[in-house]
Subunit: 177 residues, 2 copies
């Protein structure tokens, strides 16, 4: 990540990354399929964290409440990683192929959440709607958290995004918020 | 499409498709980057249709209303294509690499809708929430339309999906609908 910041993402080779980490290129490829994977290595554990958290929410909770509670439970995980998350987001925003990879990872997250909601007894359509609405709230809340000069928690921003979404769905949103 | 149904998607080569269409392989590749593109050739015009429709909705409409109205305006477009849409959906559901391509196309649609909503004066976060909520409603409504034994219109199913989403967001959804 430091290398991407120093040299620019496009100019950093797998050889550079491996050398900085004290690995051969061959060892690097044992761990990552390509240099993009360096940025996404944490994504899978994040997906598992969220899916397990949805599973752990009491069954009495409505689907969207379960999803938001699961995202809120990752607030500490991200708090420890705020400086990393900011650099990573800036890098992803600047490179279309990274944006695409990030979106695919978020989609696999929503698909995983949909499955767990169905296992909890939601219909397929309610599960999809709750998982995708939750993903939209997470995306907006995470973005606001990432840019917040006051460093308020992810939970704070998820709740604000949910309130904003409720306004959007009721159609009572002011055009400029 | 007929060929995919006869021989199976994996077994159909570009040569087969070109021969059936009376084209050389070379001419085929002038039109499509690979055989998957045959299924996605209409996607770009669909994206433009929706984005233009959002732009055409009066500015007084709230963002989500504008998005749903735009999707509803494609109801006739899909009505003419119902048999094609059913075969296409079945094919996509059966092939993970097609599912991924389909999701990427839907993401570019949501991104396009987000941009138009911002041009209409919505904040970045309200635009994202309305575009992604609208995409979730479209996805669920389209799926129900596709499977409806009574062949009711896409507009009918979009409205039903929106009502269901309102229930999900209020947290008043029964766990099994």
């Amino acid at each position: 990540m430091a290398l991407f910041a120093e040299r620019g993402y496009a100019k950093t080779t797998v050889g550079d990354i491996a050398a900085r980490a004290g690995l051969t290129e061959r060892t690097f490829f044992n761990h990552f399929s390509d240099k993009r994977e360096v940025l996404f290595a944490g994504s899978e554990s994040f997906v598992n964290l969220v899916v397990d958290a949805v599973r752990a929410v009491p069954k009495s909770a409505a689907p969207l409440d379960a999803v938001i509670a699961a995202y809120e439970s990752t607030s500490d995980f991200f708090e420890e990683r705020r400086p990393f998350a900011r650099k990573r987001s800036a890098l992803i925003a600047a490179h279309p192929e990274l944006r695409e990879r990030e979106l695919i990872k978020l989609l696999s997250l929503a698909a995983g959440v949909t499955e767990v909601l169905k296992q909890r007894g939601a219909s397929a359509s309610a599960a999809t709607l709750a998982a995708e609405t939750g993903a939209a709230i997470f995306r907006v809340g995470f973005e606001q958290w990432n840019q917040d000069p006051k460093d308020r928690s992810l939970t704070f921003h998820l709740r604000a995004a949910r309130r904003q979404l409720e306004g959007v769905v009721r159609g009572r949103v002011a055009k400029r918020l």
